[in-house]
Symmetry: D2
Subunit: 270 residues, 4 copies
């Protein structure tokens, strides 16, 4: 408790404010950003400290739209049940919904981006790669994954077994915008070679292609899950607004409560 | 446990999916929404089940931008400390940051919207109101609040004591877009009459005007806090991305740890 | 940014540590507390900075046991769904379960304690009160609540319509331990006079009597919800341990997913 | 959406209720558990579906006491900041505090238990092991960890560099209660051989020995982090009760706010 420095400092490049102005990212929030910069644009900028190009922004928005809502997912149901139990705390219901954003559902976006990044890290310069090169790289990657008994993220979907409808649209938008980078190209190659390598078609799922597209659009890998969570926040607000109007949580609770199969532990000493 | 209906049903108008398509709000997500609808536009639509007009959308985006980040707020610090403690769970750090979105900070947006709505509910038809009428209504409202010893939300700001720079910009954007509705007009009147009624200028703060603008833009009152939380999610992602690059949480922890003043309870029987 | 004091200080009476010792509540954690103080005893002590008497402790433990688990509540289901979605983050699943600890379910404990405290505040000295006096006070309180159209917390239970089995046990334990204080006495009187005042029996529910008992046992009113949450944390750990062995979350998700009734908004312009 | 089974069932062995009774773990909550079973005892029982022996319970309570509070940890500060921001939602502040219960701080308990379990799985029958055998096993484990560049959890402590005061107490209590099982014995051996193997003393930390003791006391490995979270819930309630009386969150916020070093991104095009 002795070595107190002359003065602590807490550095940030995001924002600060004084009596008359609010600075965000080096700009005057009121005079330069509000009404001139879109919300998704600002979200990109905050995460990267770079303003997106129009192409990056269009891909980013398309990905956010693709991830915003998937109907009655476990996380949407959890958020609705939480609002039912604690209607006074909307932030708690949203937080509960986001807390399900882990490895099984929302994690695919991040896992895919990181996986592709790792594979790319072993490839050297891919600027001149043709599809044939990408396919060779994808075969090597699948061989390595099989040897390591590692699952390749982003392949296959529990419902969209014949192809996730979001996948070709993200590829098309990225192509239109000149945003088909190495992550998307490698991911496409994985989809092409998967049938021959794995003995069955495993379509590229939309959460995985989202991760590849975000990486190519310049978003930071450690935050990819965060963008899935941002998108999902919009979806959860929709779910919770609907829950207030037309609740399902009481019916879910009732369904479970009516069909409890109670099988207590049978150790007579307990 | 007897009256099981023939079949449960869980109604929703938000989304569903089958083998080949994902429906969101009655539209094909891949074919009709991705790349064509912006993220903020979809967020509005999910919350209201109405697609925003261009004017509603511009106000909505401006408000989200205004609320996204306020620097090192207590919630931003809490999120950073949580990431420091649990770096493996980005969703937990975001959730921790959102959980501070309660009455003291983010609640102002919702509280102001609801307060204005309540006052408007007692006014009858205000379509032909002039500024003089609005000022009279505002005086009545402040008189009633004083009698009830109730604080009027949205007035005053701890830092921007001479005026919140966001306030005039939101009014200006709403005016440009034809979105100056009764909530904003009443709120403006409250600002005009506050000095004479309260004996001091209490500038309209940006969180309060955000609530008024969202209400006039057609967003549902019970969800106003939700939009502040959506905006803040983008800000928290920025804060957490920066924390990964340039952490402050260890310094905050160290600062507190070095300056603990330990004063244990002195009851000798304990 | 000018007036930096010579040194910040962060006072606490809970704990601190240095190279060789950890202090908790003025005691050496390792030498004086571990193995000598029970966990519930420490929880009481931390919350109040007073070590509980044996009677206070027995009531406290009985209340925690009474609140620990209520089967498949909405919060338990939400926690299980969250673990299913994010199996890597046990803390997230527990947090999601606790976030439902709001007004509708767990809030009753706190609401009842506070309500009784408020009524007692208007009664003056009740040391010499007989049951007749308490009944009179209870009648006045119910009359006042009716006039204010205010619901009295802790009365009635959705399932235990003929009496909550926990209620008489808590009263009996409190009586055995000399812990029948004014909160429990007033609550008992409310139960006695409710039939004549309200025209029907409204049994005192277990969550409400828990609040009264905690207040009489010396726990702070603003934290009563916290003890319900502490108890529930133990229940949630049980629910989640069982979920790992014998999951129900996939079946809940499947139930809802199979019975979606999709009714998208029908506005043709959208 | 076709194959609806005749009836869903949701199995549980924890609890259920009907009009007159509440069952927990096969016992009548009101008649058999309340007032007769302690809170920590019930917590153990819920997690394992086995009632603890007196020795298991004493170790369990000692471990919970050891983990309940560590002063102004980052999680305690985060919880206090959250309560400051959202004073209306105690459950949110507790949840925010628990969300920091991840790998860096609370994770050690679980990581150590699992690590020891993994090593033990490779040893075969250790019933007749002497200290010499355990030391040999520990040397092999440290060699393997070094080869795999894997950190051994539970060794070393940032503050208690000369020994964590909790460690010998947990070993002593376990020995008194006949609860020195293979996890604790292996962990002790790791502490003995660490200096010769690693070239420096790395004391066994209290969070690690907690994990070993919980495993020997029969608690399930996947839930070890959960018990650290249960203990911490009691600590957080203490922290938050104190925050209500004697807040530090405003000072933490003020400290950071006064010492912001704003360094916005300098790209002129942005």
């Amino acid at each position: 408790m002795t070595e107190h420095p002359a003065e602590n400092q807490y550095p940030t490049g995001i924002g600060t404010s004084d009596l008359h102005t609010i600075q965000v990212l080096g700009h005057d929030l009121a005079g330069e950003l509000m009404g001139r910069v879109g919300f998704a644009e600002l979200a990109y900028w905050l995460a990267t400290k770079r303003r997106p190009t129009p192409g990056q922004l269009r891909v980013f928005e398309a990905v956010l739209v693709s991830l915003a809502d998937h109907g009655f997912t476990p996380t949407a149901i959890a958020a609705r049940l939480t609002l039912y139990s604690a209607p006074d705390s909307l932030q708690g219901a949203i937080a509960a919904g986001l807390l399900g954003g882990g490895s099984r559902f929302l994690g695919v976006t991040e896992d895919t981006g990181k996986y592709l990044h790792d594979v790319l890290g072993g490839l050297g310069d891919t600027d001149a790669y043709t599809d044939v090169d990408w396919d060779a790289a994808a075969r090597d990657a699948l061989t390595a994954a099989r040897a390591a008994r590692r699952i390749v993220p982003g392949l296959g979907h529990p419902n969209h077994k014949e192809g996730d409808p979001r996948t070709p649209v993200i590829f098309a938008i990225a192509a239109e915008e000149g945003m088909l980078g190495p992550h998307l190209k490698l991911f496409a190659a994985l989809g092409r070679v998967a049938p021959e390598m794995l003995g069955r078609a495993l379509p590229l799922n939309g959460a995985g292609v989202a991760g590849a597209a975000l990486a190519d659009a310049g978003l930071p890998l450690p935050m990819l899950r965060g963008f899935a969570l941002l998108a999902r926040t919009a979806g959860l607000i929709g779910q919770l607004a609907e829950e207030l109007e037309s609740p399902i949580a009481p019916a879910v609770y009732d369904e479970v409560d009516r069909h409890v199969l109670y099988t207590p532990p049978v150790n007579p000493e307990n």
